[in-house]
């Protein structure tokens, strides 16, 4: 685990110095929220309609912005052959996966911290159920990162990785998207923990499955 933390720390230090990915992710997610709020301006008074579509908009902004970060997660390591440098280190290759998940998740959480307040203001939500919302965002984000990091490693040696990654990732994370959107919608309309246990179960099981799958296959995925 120490090796994973060293990799994550290195990634975050590099990112906070350049802010290349973080700035793009934050600006992109804010733009998505703003564009959708303008598009639905005429319906903003129809609380029932907005309640139905707004959680989907929130998760679209999270996932699309997160995709920007994921596509650079391993691609950035190709410069100066750093990926080989990491693979040469005397540690399990899964440390590389875990380190990348940690750094990408931290960046995604920062982006989400900027996005949620704007979403609440523009879609006129009252702030309720914050602990539950944080839980769902945590589980949804982790599921997205486990799959996304694995597939990002898989596509790193392909020329069309930026195009290929979203095409192969979204079909795989459909259970995460549906469960996260449904749970978010319920939380924003005042539902409690008992009403979202089904979604939480799906997200937890999905996260566990893909964490284990990644641990088993990452060694082969990352080999030249």
């Amino acid at each position: 685990m120490n090796h994973a933390l060293h990799i994550a720390w290195k990634d975050l230090k590099t990112e906070f110095r350049t802010k290349q990915m973080l700035n793009s992710m934050i600006i992109f997610s804010l733009l998505v929220i703003i564009i959708f709020s303008f598009s639905f301006a005429d319906f903003l008074t129809d609380q029932k309609l907005i309640t139905m579509v707004a959680p989907g908009i929130l998760w679209i902004s999270f996932l699309f912005a997160g995709m920007l970060g994921l596509s650079r997660s391993f691609a950035g390591e190709k410069e100066e052959g750093c990926l080989d440098g990491l693979k040469l280190c005397p540690c399990e290759r899964t440390s590389l996966f875990e380190g990348k998940v940690i750094s990408s998740t931290v960046l995604m959480f920062i982006m989400e911290l900027f996005t949620i307040p704007l979403f609440i203001i523009l879609f006129d939500y009252t702030i309720t159920g914050i602990p539950l919302l944080v839980l769902i965002i945590l589980l949804g984000t982790l599921g997205f990162m486990f799959v996304g990091t694995l597939l990002s490693a898989l596509t790193v040696n392909t020329r069309t990785r930026e195009i290929l990654l979203p095409v192969i990732i979204f079909p795989v994370i459909i259970p995460v998207i549906i469960s996260s959107v449904t749970a978010t919608s319920k939380i924003l309309t005042g539902a409690g923990f008992a009403n979202i246990t089904e979604e939480i179960q799906i997200l937890v099981i999905y996260d566990i499955i893909f964490f284990i799958v990644a641990q088993l296959v990452f060694e082969y995925v990352i080999e030249d």
């Binding site: 290195k10 230090k13 590099t14 750093c82 040469l88 005397p90 399990e92 080999e223 030249d224």
Partner: protein, 236 residues
């Protein structure tokens, strides 16, 4: 017992055979240079030794550890210097070394960084970002990175690529400094003159097989060796 022992090594990518029936024993302290044209399989061979690529068949034992069974121990035993520097442009020279030092779990890391960075003559640029370095400086820092964990074996894959004459000469000088001169080294090179100057044994790899091997002292002149190389590789 040889420090590096390769027996009947084969490597294929799909139906394409890159290496076939490679046998090689390298003793402690040897400096072996492997010459060969593009596509001969040199880099694949080094990648197998470095545990970056798995062999299809055969046995590769480094410092007593099989590359398939004990890859982590093998990685602890080797340092790799390539035309890629494995350095992060946004981190300073010291931060790069500190990161790799932590990954290799080096004790007294700051002391070790001060030692290796002064050996490659970059102590005065330690707190500068690697992105501001020239190609030669990056390659010198890459040597510091490779020897940071005191490896018993150095694998050098085309280390002169992109270096001017001055930087190449400086590279040779660092490689012969105390602390690195007794390390066992395998170098891949196109540069026959420079490759022969440093080694005590030279091999030619062509079409995935070793086609020539000679002790350095048995070579009377570089021209003679160049002639042998041209004949074996191009058939002229």
């Amino acid at each position: 017992m040889a420090l590096i022992s390769i027996e009947e090594l084969y490597k294929s990518f799909g139906n394409f055979r890159v290496l076939q029936d490679i046998n090689l024993e390298v003793e402690k302290g040897d400096f072996v240079t492997i010459f060969g044209p593009n596509g001969a399989g040199k880099t694949t061979l080094v990648k197998i030794l470095a545990t970056l690529v798995s062999p299809t068949r055969g046995s590769v034992v480094i410092n007593g550890f099989d590359v398939r069974e004990k890859p982590i121990e093998v990685r602890r035993s080797i340092g790799v210097i390539s035309h890629d520097t494995y350095l992060y442009h946004e981190l300073t020279a010291v931060e790069n070394l500190r990161f790799y030092g932590k990954m290799y779990e080096i004790k007294h890391i700051e002391e070790r960084i001060r030692d290796v960075i002064s050996r490659v003559g970059l102590a005065h640029r330690g707190n500068h970002r690697v992105g501001t370095f020239s190609r030669g400086m990056k390659q010198r820092l890459s040597i510091a990175r490779a020897i940071l964990h005191n490896p018993v074996i150095l694998l050098l894959d085309e280390p002169y690529t992109g270096l001017d004459q001055h930087a190449s000469a400086l590279f040779d000088k660092i490689m012969q400094q105390p602390g690195t001169e007794h390390t066992t080294r395998i170098m891949i090179s196109h540069d026959i003159e420079r490759g022969l100057k440093l080694c005590n044994r030279a091999l030619i790899l062509n079409n995935g097989s070793f086609v020539h091997e000679v002790i350095r002292d048995k070579i009377s002149s570089i021209e003679e060796y160049r002639g042998i190389y041209e004949h074996l590789v191009t058939g002229k």
